[in-house]
């Protein structure tokens, strides 16, 4: 399934929590004034997680889950549009990590490798669901219908965005979700989706342009409304 042997530079370590952003700017992730302590911590933690999982230590898997489980589940839910399928995908990802950890050579961040497995697992689940739908002669669209979620979320805004996302290309949708929702950096997304950092930036730009066009009413009708 092409999840192993990921070549991602060590500077692109994944933080345990998504960064808060308003107008998020990535000045090419250059770290002035010596190594960033947060990055050093992330590298140490990543190596420790990889070693523990390689040793088959269940407590390390639990730690991996406690740090990334919620984000993994949220990503899977947004990719699959279904909380039940998302739970299955996260579980399957952990099993794949357990099965494949011996082949993980450490050329990339362990956590990026894990997320890459998760994304591929979601792709597989989506494909398999599509096949089932075809067999059942279901003419519904490829994009799954999102289910209701946390009551705190603004339902109309969320639903409008989810509907708009459904009309994007798969790649645009994935980059948007990874960057804007999950808070990954372009370097991390590049590693997960096996694309270049520039391609990730360009895809996000195209995704947001398309979303604006979909979400904003035509200027003429907006003027009529006034």
């Amino acid at each position: 399934m092409g999840t192993m042997g990921l070549a991602l530079p060590w500077k692109a370590r994944i933080a345990s929590v998504p960064r808060e952003r308003e107008s998020r700017v990535e000045p090419s992730e250059h770290f002035a004034g010596g190594p960033n302590p947060a990055v050093v911590d992330a590298i140490t933690e990543d190596a420790s997680l990889a070693a523990g999982c390689r040793a088959g230590n269940l407590q390390t898997y639990e730690r991996l889950y406690s740090i990334h489980g919620a984000r993994m589940r949220n990503l899977a839910r947004n990719l699959l549009g279904n909380p039940v399928d998302a739970e299955d995908a996260v579980q399957e990802t952990f099993l794949k990590v357990q099965r494949g950890i011996a082949s993980f050579r450490g050329q990339s961040s362990f956590v990026t490798w894990t997320y890459r497995i998760l994304i591929n697992t979601c792709y597989d689940a989506r494909r398999s669901r599509l096949r089932k739908k075809e067999v059942a002669n279901d003419d519904s669209a490829e994009t799954p219908r999102p289910e209701p979620r946390a009551p705190g979320a603004h339902p109309s805004l969320r639903m409008a965005l989810e509907r708009a996302l459904a009309s994007l290309t798969k790649h645009q949708r994935d980059v948007f979700l990874l960057y804007e929702v999950e808070g990954f950096r372009h370097a991390e997304i590049a590693g997960m989706l096996e694309i270049t950092e520039t391609a990730s930036k360009n895809t996000l730009f195209q995704a947001k342009k398309n979303l604006r066009m979909i979400l904003e009413p035509p200027r003429s009708s907006a003027a009529e409304a006034r």
Partner: protein, 222 residues
């Protein structure tokens, strides 16, 4: 000093602007309503994206994953245990192990064939057990045979009770031993009437008694 950007720089900055370029665009938007609107709309997408973030915990999730991981780990260790069970053959090469296994299969095949071929004959030849109808015939014949021998014994009785010669005395003793043995065998045969071996021995004793009585009667004639 703040760098200057124009409206046509907007998309490039949206796509891959540096921190300084973004600050310059913000400053430009303060005096450009078109760029201000675009900037607001661009940022609102990021704000809207936050609505798709739901990191609420599911307490059932980790136990389920943990169980699956433990089961998977168990499946991985089971074949290893099977291999270690076979580790009593560590120094024997795979070729020899195959040869030993082949020899075992050959021995089993020969044994099975022998049992298959010999089985029916063994049952046919086995007379240790008699069926009830055959047993009745044997017992009837035996009774007639015993009656006939008893007639002989009655004829020989006068000579044997008063033996005229040492030979007759010996016959008398011999017949006493035979009668004792016959009595024992009859007792055993009574307990186990289907035992053909006992019947053979009893028959041999009767035959011996018959010959002995015949000899006694022969000796009387002489």
């Amino acid at each position: 000093m703040m760098m200057n950007v124009a409206c046509n720089d907007r998309d490039r900055i949206f796509e891959d602007g540096t921190r300084v370029e973004w600050a310059a665009l913000e400053a430009h938007a303060a005096s450009c309503p078109a760029c201000a609107g675009e900037l607001r709309a661009w940022k609102s997408l990021s704000v809207a994206a936050q609505e798709m973030r739901d990191y609420t915990e599911n307490p059932a999730s980790w136990p389920r994953i943990e169980r699956a991981l433990a089961e998977e780990a168990g499946r991985k260790t089971r074949p290893a245990r099977r291999r270690s069970w076979l580790s009593f053959l560590p120094g024997i090469s795979l070729g020899w192990q195959t040869a030993v296994a082949g020899a075992l299969v050959l021995v089993l095949a020969i044994s099975a064939g022998w049992i298959f071929i010999r089985g029916p004959h063994r049952v046919e030849n086995d007379k240790s057990l008699l069926k009830s109808a055959a047993l009745e015939n044997v017992e009837r014949a035996e009774a007639l045979y015993v009656q006939a021998i008893d007639k002989l014994a009655a004829e020989a009785k006068p000579q044997l009770e008063n033996p005229a010669t040492p030979l007759l005395a010996n016959y008398h003793e011999k017949l006493a031993v035979l009668d004792s043995a016959i009595a024992d065998l009859r007792t055993e045969a009574g307990l186990n009437p289907s035992n053909a071996q006992l019947r053979h021995q009893l028959l041999a004793m009767y035959q011996e008694k018959q010959h002995t009585l015949e000899e006694v009667l022969e000796a009387r004639k002489q």
